[in-house]
Symmetry: D2
Subunit: 282 residues, 4 copies
């Protein structure tokens, strides 16, 4: 870079770390253009989450719906890997930041991605149907194509544990209220119902919407991108990950594995054998 001046290089370095989120100067902190002292005490935590992720403040109705959707995801018990890892990590000596890191990391495609995948499905149905199109027909077509391609899992619908997910009805009621109050369009709620109908047609039985399906409806109604659906779930589940880390820490146990040592794991490899003679000498 022979013709770059030091001034050019410095400018490039500043641009390299460009952000539109926060402006920090000595004595000044402004988030998306709002002075931090104006925000403190005047906006809620859900408002801040929205402002940080979207660039503008939500209406109060949008914030209330977002906040309600953050409540039920906080925990699903120690059988969930994210919770179990947090508790195990603490017994290995980690502080809460470390336990949270190891646990949040596993909220990936399979354990934390169903909401994001469901949002993508809803968008695909929206695109397939086109403006004013038949949502049930679009959902049916997409689900049929997926099944023909060998993929039988429809993210956001059915649950391996709960026959009926107790989180769905109250959340859907909030969506309906938000639609009635003009805070949401209801388009994505209709798509959610369309998937339920399509599943009944395709499979011959009722496969009800689960927590991922209804939060996907909410996050789509609120205009979030699918990948942020995963991010919002992580913000929610982080609360449970922290709470379980803290409960475990107070119990003082050391090096807690997945099962008590009374329950042996099964070894399925070769029986004891001598080292081979490795004749070649490289």
């Amino acid at each position: 870079m022979p013709d770059k001046t030091p001034e050019d290089i410095l400018a490039d370095a500043s641009a390299w770390w460009d952000t539109s989120i926060i402006d920090v100067q000595p004595g000044k902190i402004a988030i998306r253009g709002y002075a931090i002292q104006d925000l403190i005490g005047h906006v809620g935590f859900a408002d801040m989450i929205w402002l940080m992720l979207r660039g503008e403040l939500p209406t109060r109705g949008q914030a209330a719906l977002l906040e309600a959707a953050l409540v039920p995801g906080v925990d699903h018990g120690p059988h969930a890997p994210s919770i179990a890892i947090s508790r195990m990590a603490v017994t290995c000596g980690l502080p809460v930041n470390g336990a949270m890191a190891s646990a949040i990391n596993v909220l990936d495609d399979v354990h934390g991605g169903a909401g994001q995948q469901c949002m993508a499905l809803y968008r695909a149905i929206d695109a397939e149907a086109g403006p004013g199109g038949d949502l049930v027909a679009a959902a049916t077509a997409i689900i049929r194509r997926q099944r023909e391609a060998g993929d039988k899992i429809v993210p956001g619908f059915g649950h391996r544990f709960h026959p009926v997910d107790p989180r769905v009805v109250p959340l859907f009621a909030l969506v309906d209220q938000a639609v009635a109050a003009g805070h949401a369009s209801g388009h994505w709620a209709r798509i959610g119902h369309a998937v339920e109908e399509a599943l009944k047609t395709v499979t011959g039985r009722a496969i009800p919407m689960n927590i991922d399906g209804i939060t996907a409806v909410i996050f789509c109604e609120l205009g979030f991108e699918p990948e942020l659906g995963r991010g919002l779930f992580i913000l929610s589940r982080s609360v449970g990950i922290l709470a379980h880390a803290w409960e475990q820490k107070q119990r003082g146990r050391r090096i807690m594995g997945p099962m008590p040592k009374d329950i042996p794991y099964r070894y399925s490899g070769p029986p004891l054998r001598p080292l081979p003679d490795r004749a070649d000498n490289a």
Copy 2:
């Protein structure tokens, strides 16, 4: 364990993963005894954080103060390692869960621990003063002892960047309001002020309270343990970590290191040299 029956072993295994936080059964999710369908739409996200961490719901006044304290910690710009790591991680191909994990992990003693340490300091002052004791005298004594032991950093006071931290005044006003409304005792706010006075006496100059000092006041007023002070900060900063990951992802850059490659790092090791002859043959 020859005399344990299979039933005993199973009961021990269940007890090994005991929790008082959540009861999950098919069709039932209860958090701290509250059915999830009762919580959804009726409690806020800050209420849930409190319920998960403390076991009971907060009063509305407590929840409002907690919520206000979660707002300002969300971000401090890409110069903060937690934010920088999140952005770099995304350019390496990580999804948001992975970026958040690598970033949250570094909110350890130095980068994320000042609030927790400040809460411990406030508690030490409280214990040193005793009931009704002189808080300034206690603060002065403890700070003097720390300095004599060679430790000049008082967590929660002073800032390497902001001459006056714009987040402190509005948060302190909320504490005063909460005290006036009976939601907080004001004891820990007095301890915070006592540290400021003590610092002036000991160092001869004003070292104002920073964001860690005022959130430590709030979390102490609300009855949180110091380690949860770190946990609450992580919940707050996670929002910024996610927002920066998302902004970076939309820019599409690949493998972003700490500085543009125009700025070389300094190498201070030995100059180029030949491999030595290693005579011994073990």
Copy 3:
């Protein structure tokens, strides 16, 4: 599960954690059937890596080639995000395990995946050519198809930094020696050369093999699956991540961001603005 006996449940629990890698009993540790006391002092670290990942011990020639391939990946300087994150993490207070975790995490598709992707490319060429087929023709066809689909990056070839990668020639010489000694077939080395030829044909210029391309040749010659190519690179780079964490720790710096604070980042968001009036009251 009403008809499962406690014995059944315990057996299922053991099976749930089944492994063919290690058998641990009180006083006994056997890895892939070999008693640990037989392994200690009789096999090298590269042998152990192979045994753990493949189930059998390598020949000495295979082990020597694997070991050589683990040497050059250990480090590529602090501009690499994996190394930078390790150093930053230490300045936040993390011990070496935490620094290594945050850093290793980012060795994902973009920063740590080129070797794996290159192995997948070699396999695709092998499949395209078929037994005894024309490797250059197959490589050319695949690269052309990729470019037509808009993907111009050929993993393992070219380098944004090194005009000629000094690691390639000596590693290729070791492959040639291994082939001459009968430790490797040479088939994957021919595929690597075929890609170089194909790239010259397709692009009109020489795009030489880089470190990912030659280690992909080696790991394919040794029979590793592509995903283990990434795993082996991580084992190698972990050494550099640890070394840089340790060097940084000895320097005692606190909270090191990506650039010194003399270099400001650029803020590209909205200018300072007042909070909006949010009329709706949900």
Copy 4:
């Protein structure tokens, strides 16, 4: 910084990322002063680990002893949290880098720190005894003081699982050989034996050295700092973490928690209760 020129700022930025480990320039990679092309094929992986961490190449005898000490730590079965987390992480959808990150993170004070703590104990005994001093007396004094302070755990001695640790005898034999060959002083081996004698005196029973105790002897004999003892253990265990991740990945299971869902966890919190009436309205 009004009087800093752009040149000054750039120089400071380069210095901020100073390293003595690696010099990377276009076409040149030198580690600790050795050209990478000189190292490839001429030094082993254990040599590289030593060079990266210590700055110089080891003798062949030192490298052989280090390599032997890296072999037994690779794995201790899926009951170890580090291994269990790796396997669980894979079933959540993580690639091997993510699984390794979440798992390596927990190799902290309790699960991964015994070797480091044992090295610190050996050094404390060395300092207590002074040159030519009575090592058993020093060990006894230190262990007595620890027990009087309430700490009964002596890191590196005793095992909650193995009555006799099968890894200790063969590793100690290698230390004795290295001492006989002049590759090690034997001073730290004597300290290790002194701890065993002191424990017998203090507790009245034999508490044999375990794997952490013998690797601590080796790493002290080789001149490593205690914190690097943890780092070396991590490099070793990373192999097992990767191998188990890979084995689990091939089995295709989804979202594997700590126990099969047939084994319920125990819930010990309050029974189901209605939401309280929260009268205060902040």
